[in-house]
Assembly symmetry: C2
């Protein structure tokens, strides 16, 4: 099976203490599900049990109902650069088993979508995400999830909503939106800023109530934001994409603790010192 | 703006106490984003700030970078049966602004995808989800999230994974899988059962670590499961789809409390009585 977790060197902040730490992050990478030569879907998933994933997806999205509906299935590494990571499951279905329309969720290339090509394919932000000398204090970051929650109108009633917010360069909450989908909440706050003439979001932060996935980092980069503050943990691909484009990525921001996954030199401690000097991150 | 929450009559179980309760649930409904006559994507979202949602989506997925890139935008009710609910945002882009390939995430019909037609369009399960007389005890339901967590190998290390499990008719945990995506974790456990010859999942439960969305209920129905036990809350559309096909839907299963959103007559209290008689649910 695939590797489900990997490690990244991060800076872990606990109250006044900030230190480097080799952290486990969940792996996120694309898997194409193909029948014959047709890729039906490309899903961002955690590697492991990829055949089960493809079979289960075909139950809900095709007309697969029993094992005999699948007459052959295999895991393939279509991308020679992908370091032995399965990127495609090819399935042969029994005659008469119905298929859905192909759904290309990600830009697809000749090889399907491979992790190694996914990162370079993400467009670079149109300019620097942070002004020269831009920094943010640990205390300011720690306050953000609570400040966002105070502005969530629907949350307390249902417990079923994600939220996203944009914080401007002065630390003010510009907008908070909620949605059943985390990605939709992020789209709503970015759309608000676009319509108000506020893009790119240079020196602004995007706060998200849940996990930081590849897709969320991609949206923040397209909007030109300085960084993301997530209440939960980021995936491997989110960390790697944030680092590639020098986006500040903070996760597990709860109470007096947070982790900095990318650009720790932008984060200042109580004494006004950066929690890490520039260029030290591994 | 749209209505973000709605109410459903549920049964709330708190220890030995079970009573009907008018509960707030988050609304989930489809929104098509169209440029000209082309629907680019249909996303399941919570109504409200739909123009912002469409604008923000176009920042990440098209080449929209400033307000002037959008020369017109409007919210439409394409489906006359949709009870004044916006189902489509139409956008006109300035000349030269690049567009992504259309991505049809849901089966689309002539009107786009409308809430009122989404539910009837979901295929019915191939047979009854529960055998005659099938019931489950409150205590058994309350144990499931903890039992699943004990089998989650990667979770404690990363904090970034969802999990799903299948519990057989005897209450045994058949399989647990983890993934960065909740829907992938559900696909993996259903795929496992398919490959083991275990579909349909009559009298079996699917446990999910997060929220229960429309898509998760759709997957459980396709697999023929008796019910879903979710650690977090379901959406309006998840509740409605579960009721339509008589799927047991339990949410917010934590400690000694849970909510039953669909089929409460299948859930037995300590004394062996159903928490609600059949047919009482509103």
């Amino acid at each position: 099976m695939g590797v489900m977790t990997t490690r990244r060197k991060i800076v872990r902040v606990r109250g006044n203490d900030a230190r480097e730490h080799l952290d486990d992050v969940v792996v996120e990478s694309p898997l194409a599900i193909a029948v014959g030569d047709t890729t039906l879907v490309t899903t961002m998933r955690t590697p492991g049990h990829d055949l089960e994933l493809a079979a289960g997806w075909l139950v809900a999205d095709a007309e697969v109902r029993e094992a005999a509906d699948i007459v052959g299935m295999g895991a393939f590494i279509a991308d020679p650069d992908s370091a032995d990571e399965v990127d495609t499951v090819r399935v042969a279905l029994a005659p008469g088993v119905g298929l859905p329309e192909p759904r290309a969720r990600l830009t697809s290339s000749a090889c399907g979508v491979c992790s190694s090509r996914l990162l370079p394919d993400v467009p670079a932000p149109s300019g620097p995400l942070q002004s020269d000398g831009w920094t943010v204090k640990v205390e300011a970051l720690l306050d953000l999830p609570d400040r966002m929650r105070e502005r969530q109108r629907a949350f307390d009633r249902t417990g079923g909503l994600h939220a996203a917010a944009v914080v401007d360069s002065a630390g003010a909450l510009v907008v908070v939106h909620e949605d059943v989908g985390r990605h939709n909440a992020v789209d709503k706050v970015i759309g608000h800023c676009l319509m108000a003439g506020g893009l790119p979001l240079t020196d602004c932060l995007i706060v998200v109530s849940g996990r930081a996935s590849f897709e969320i980092v991609q949206k923040a980069l397209a909007a030109g934001a300085a960084g993301i503050v997530a209440v939960s943990a980021p995936s491997s691909l989110a960390v790697d994409l944030a680092r590639l484009h020098r986006l500040l990525l903070v996760g597990l921001a709860r109470g007096s603790t947070l982790n900095v996954y990318s650009r720790p030199e932008l984060v200042l401690q109580h004494a006004g010192r950066a929690i890490q000097q520039s260029g030290q991150q591994g």
